[in-house]
């Protein structure tokens, strides 16, 4: 009788507040691989040394029933203090940083610089044949930037993975 939730794949950003103890990341990653959930992106860093708390941001794409499972399964892990599905909870901000190495000369080199300028990317390293650009934005903005700069000599990319935070005056933890 219960209507099954429609099976549309959605991309959600989860914030997971964990005790900063040995093996906690392995638990989280093992949960995703063991249960066959997707990880689009994962970042982790200590955010409070005194209390020993780390914050993990995970981006996952799945149907709503699985997204609900991901939240519930994460909550079962003993060192997990709090899980927030930022995408469902309300307006949120997400950022990712990319470092891009572009090798080119002549017209292409000038065009690369111009595009970087348009995107407000920072030039953080330069040689006579190359630049390294630093660019922060949403996942999608980085994708766009990468797409434009690829034919202009892009030879290497590194991306930090997404971090997310809820808008407004309230802290989640």
């Amino acid at each position: 009788m219960t209507d099954q939730i429609p099976q549309v794949i959605q991309r959600h950003v989860f914030s997971v507040i964990v005790d900063d103890e040995a093996g906690v990341l392995a638990r989280v990653v093992g949960l995703f691989s063991g249960r066959g959930y997707n990880i689009d992106s994962l970042t982790v860093a200590n955010v409070n040394k005194e209390q020993g708390i780390s914050r993990i941001t995970i981006v996952s794409s799945a149907v709503p029933q699985i997204l609900e499972q991901i939240e519930a399964q994460l909550n079962r892990l003993v060192p997990v203090r709090k899980v927030v599905d930022l995408t469902s909870t309300g307006p949120m901000l997400e950022r990712e940083t990319a470092l891009l190495k572009v090798n080119s000369t002549g017209e292409k080199r000038i065009e690369a610089l111009r595009i970087a300028d348009v995107f407000h990317a920072k030039t953080i390293d330069a040689t006579l044949q190359s630049f390294i650009f630093e660019f922060s934005g949403t996942n999608e903005e980085i994708n766009n930037f990468v797409e434009l700069i690829t034919p202009l000599g892009l030879i290497e990319v590194v991306r930090s993975g997404v971090v997310g935070i809820a808008r407004g005056s309230k802290a989640i933890f």
Binding site: T2, Q4, D19, G23, G30, Q69, A72, R76, V78, P79
Partner: protein, 603 residues
């Protein structure tokens, strides 16, 4: 092998701030004592010698020496399941830990509280591929509820108390504590359980009253209701079973149970429809399929229960009480989810029912029972009787009748005999039925029976076994003999891996690939070789006498080799990938045509 024991600090004389320290091994024993542990199942080795030394020097905690570490974990499970307490295991590093893995996975899937201590190579050797080193926390992470590697003796006591809290709280499960040998020998500070509260792990046990009220409303309005009860009721404690009985009687509604929940509601009660699921009764499965309100109390919509998901109980409103939020909406989306202790939830439902002066819809209920009784009249568990050959079902009926009035604990192995035991032995009390439901571990029953017998001396403990399964942990006969445990091993010997043979017969064209054990031991001689009693029944006429002889053995284990019909299949059966209303009642119906292609991939 032993390292020099670091000097324990002298008792402080002047400085009050200095706390007295004891070494890690002594901390462990003290912590167990303070946790109320009386029995530890284990097996020694180099990496736990200091702990064995500490055990040697005391008398409060009894150590039971198993014959293989896997046996230790199952024994601890049997002990835990039959008492409601935490089972405790102690094994060495490397192979000791890896042997324990099956038991840990078993305890995880069946939500059994177990704390398992594993020795580890000394801290400075971790990561060096040292002798008998393995990454125990890495290996056991996905098959435990939680695990710890303790590198600091000062943190050992706290970790142990936390581990017991985690093992028994919320949805129970196994917890591993890996202790490097140097930590066992290093003095550390002891703290008592009262001084430790877990900083974050405090599972929610109180259900939302609002959800309870909505649930009771739905329950009261039901025309074709059913209580679908599970192992959560057993885990919640005997009060939950009492509340279930009370609520069922108040409402007059039918009750079915999962394999894990048997005993929570008395099998002898007329409101009980028997077990549901793949080998459940016709009436239970059809009632689940046709109900309009399903009240899931501490069960988890396991695939053995639901059959084909898209056709599972298509016309019902569903209430689901579970202490584990992740069990809710995992496979079946429900209308009223209730997260909390199922015992508390039923109590609250009773209160609301009484306060609102609800009563069941008499007319609708009478109609529903009439329908159910029609299904019952099919007598789905009937089998062809024989005077010449022992039917496995008959053997269990005789066992049931001859043990009537005697408090009996049943464990099982895995296979046809397990399903027949669930169908034919009737359980009227919780904690008297121990079986490997989630993992389906052959070899579970004998060590589990040993754990049960140790917790309940003088009581009748029977492992209903198959001849293939029993060989998986037969070495534990030696344990039973050592501790003079009169566990009974009732083998339904059909010479086949019967459950495998049944599937091969029904859906693999009778190609019996490797399911016959061509060189079985003589189980009577085997029992005698271990120092136990061996008995055999070959004909129905011999059966009663042999069961009585078995029951009279009281100082050593007894194996009964019951030679049963090797062709018998376990019915009713829902073919894999089919819905509840497509069950097959007996061998006259063809299963292969009923098994859809997508069912072939299911287990």
């Amino acid at each position: 092998m032993l390292q020099p024991i670091p000097k324990v600090q002298d008792e402080p004389h002047t400085d009050k701030r200095v706390v007295s320290k004891i070494n890690g091994a002594d901390i462990l024993v003290k912590a167990l004592r303070d946790q109320g542990v009386d029995t530890v199942f284990g097996y020694p080795g180099g990496a736990v010698l200091p702990i064995y030394d500490a055990i040697f020097k005391q008398n409060d905690i009894r150590h039971i020496l198993v014959r293989q570490e896997g046996g230790a974990v199952h024994a601890a499970e049997g002990y835990a399941r039959s008492t409601g307490k935490v089972g405790v295991v102690l094994v060495t590093s490397g192979p000791g830990a890896t042997n324990a893995v099956t038991g840990l996975a078993d305890a995880l899937l069946d939500s059994i509280p177990v704390v398992c201590f594993t020795g580890q190579v000394p801290t400075h050797l971790i990561g060096n591929d040292a002798f008998q080193e393995c990454d125990t926390t890495g290996i056991t992470r996905p098959c435990t509820k939680h695990n710890y590697l303790v590198k600091d003796a000062d943190k050992l006591a706290r970790t142990i108390h936390e581990a017991f809290h985690v093992a028994r709280s919320g949805r129970p499960g196994p917890v591993v504590i890996d202790i490097p040998k140097d930590v066992q020998l290093t003095p550390g500070e002891y703290v008592s359980p009262a001084q430790v509260t877990h900083k974050t792990y405090q599972p929610k046990t109180m259900p939302e009253l609002d959800a309870i009220e909505r649930a009771v409303e739905l329950i009261a309005d039901a025309q074709r209701p059913i209580f679908y009860t599970g192992g959560g009721i057993i885990n919640s404690g005997s009060k939950a079973s009492e509340s279930l009985r009370k609520f069922a009687r108040m409402t007059g509604y039918p009750v079915t149970s999962t394999l894990m929940g048997l005993g929570a509601y008395p099998a002898s009660d007329p409101q009980f429809l028997g077990m549901l699921g793949m080998h459940g009764t016709y009436e239970a499965n059809l009632a689940m399929h046709g109900c309009d309100v399903m009240i899931n109390l501490g069960a988890r919509f396991d695939d053995r229960v639901t059959g084909k998901l898209s056709e599972f109980s298509p016309n019902s409103k569903k209430i689901h009480v579970d202490i584990d939020a992740s069990s809710i909406n995992k496979t079946i989306v429900v209308d009223i989810p209730i997260v909390g202790d199922v015992g508390v939830a039923i109590e609250q439902m009773i209160k609301v029912w009484e306060k609102k002066k609800h009563s069941a819809n008499k007319a609708a209920l009478a109609k529903w029972w009439a329908q159910i009784n029609e299904w019952r009249a099919k007598k789905c568990l009937a089998y062809k009787k024989s005077d010449t050959i022992i039917k496995p079902q008959y053997a269990l009926e005789r066992l049931r009748d001859l043990t009537k009035g005697v408090e009996t604990f049943i464990t099982t192995e895995v296979g046809q005999h397990q399903m027949w035991a669930a169908q034919f032995l009737h359980f009227d009390e919780p904690n008297h039925w121990m079986t490997s439901g989630g993992l389906g571990t052959m070899g579970y029953g004998l060590p589990a029976a040993i754990g049960v017998q140790l917790a309940h001396p003088g009581k009748l403990v029977i492992d209903v076994a198959g001849e293939a399964s029993i060989l998986m942990n037969i070495q534990e006969m030696s344990t039973a003999v050592q501790y003079r445990l009169p566990v009974k091993i009732f083998i339904l010997n059909n010479q086949w891996m019967g459950m495998v043979r049944q599937w091969q017969e029904l859906i693999h064209g009778g190609r019996y690939s490797e399911s016959y054990t061509a060189a079985l031991p003589d189980f009577v001689k085997l029992a005698e070789a271990f120092g136990g009693v061996g008995l055999r029944a070959k004909t129905p006429a011999e059966l009663d006498g042999v069961i009585k002889q078995m029951m009279a053995v009281n100082d050593r284990p007894c194996i009964v080799d019951v030679c049963v019909d090797e062709k018998e299949n376990c019915y009713p059966m829902i073919p894999s990938g089919r819905a509840h209303n497509e069950m097959i009642l007996n061998s006259d119906q063809d299963i292969s045509s009923k098994t859809p292609d997508e069912g072939l991939v299911l287990v």
